[in-house]
Symmetry: C2
Amino acid sequence: MSLPFGILGFLNYKPMSGYDLVKAFESSLEFFWHAQKSHIYLELKKLEKKGYICGETVIQSDRPNKTIFSITDTGREKFLDWLAEGNAEDVTHFKNTFLMKVFFSGNMPPSQSVEMLRQFLADCEDYLKRMGSIPESIENYGTDKENYQTLYWQFTADFGYSYIKTCIEWATRCIEKLERLCTLQTPCTRIPR
Amino acid sequence: MSLPFGILGFLNYKPMSGYDLVKAFESSLEFFWHAQKSHIYLELKKLEKKGYICGETVIQSDRPNKTIFSITDTGREKFLDWLAEGNAEDVTHFKNTFLMKVFFSGNMPPSQSVEMLRQFLADCEDYLKRMGSIPESIENYGTDKENYQTLYWQFTADFGYSYIKTCIEWATRCIEKLERLCTLQTPCTRIPR
DNA sequence: AGGCTCATGTAACCGGTTACATGATTAT
DNA sequence: ATAATCATGTAACCGGTTACATGAGCCT
């Protein structure tokens, strides 16, 4: 329900082609909204049909032709409406497959769940490393340094960073607890179930 | 892609009716996997057709009849396979509409985004309050106190708690920064865009 | 000649949501 | 009477994913 608004959001900065949008999503929103290429192109058609954006074909000699989309007044209006909307469900309605697995981990040997948590920890740390390069990439598509845009981009980056940090601390705690239980209290021969 | 496994997970503890499952989801998985009633009943049919669970009608005189579902051997096998699977995408592929709005907040007056963040903060604090009652409710459907189940339930509760705490701290930071910028550096008459 | 970036799609599918709908029994 | 709990669905829809597909031009 958000992809079309993400597109409108980018087009509100400046007109872009589908290809540009794919890259914009990859380099920024990726961290909290992974979008499929095909889905973006599909959504562009829908938005144009609705009259929220309008496309113009640009003929290029050195590379394939492209369509540059601009946001329309109605499009901008819809986008700003969306921005102003409340979103109370967002705090409560998040889905996390990994946590579901943790929840049901009593069904596998503790050694296996320790391994699972270690993998999660490794993935988080890997992610954190790759995140180091965000602040610079954010600078690249800022159009107007006068306004608050970069500030909000920093906010989302801050969120991502804090979130991953929290995940790392949590996973570390869990692993410690499991290992303490496994090596000290209960000998590893005792397998649940 | 996880709901059927959530159902299998619960049925692996003990046989349950669709109604029981709805309540089980509401009282526990709710925090990271909100499930629709209708979806659960739909999924039960699919799982039965696949032979992962089997239902038995229980005739009741004091209340409407019901169907109690039990997990089959193949069902248990599939469930354990799922548990053992890796889930690297889970760290990277999360969707958050609210963060998308923050990302595009340069398009609205700072006062409005402060309001949005305050609302988020309030929602988080509200959520945190309601979370206080989880540990007790978890105790209720533990079948076998000998095994590690409750430990893992605590892990997920710990995650939820830490996550909300992180959100609260983050939102507080953001609001502070915005207010400092608005009241000290730039007079509020200057509205971006 | 072969790989890269640029550029854009279609078709099938699926997980999940929303709205709607029914009906029994029990407690007040 | 009527509200609450128990109990179970159907149908339409939609957001998003996966797989597949094409083709121009540039660089080496």
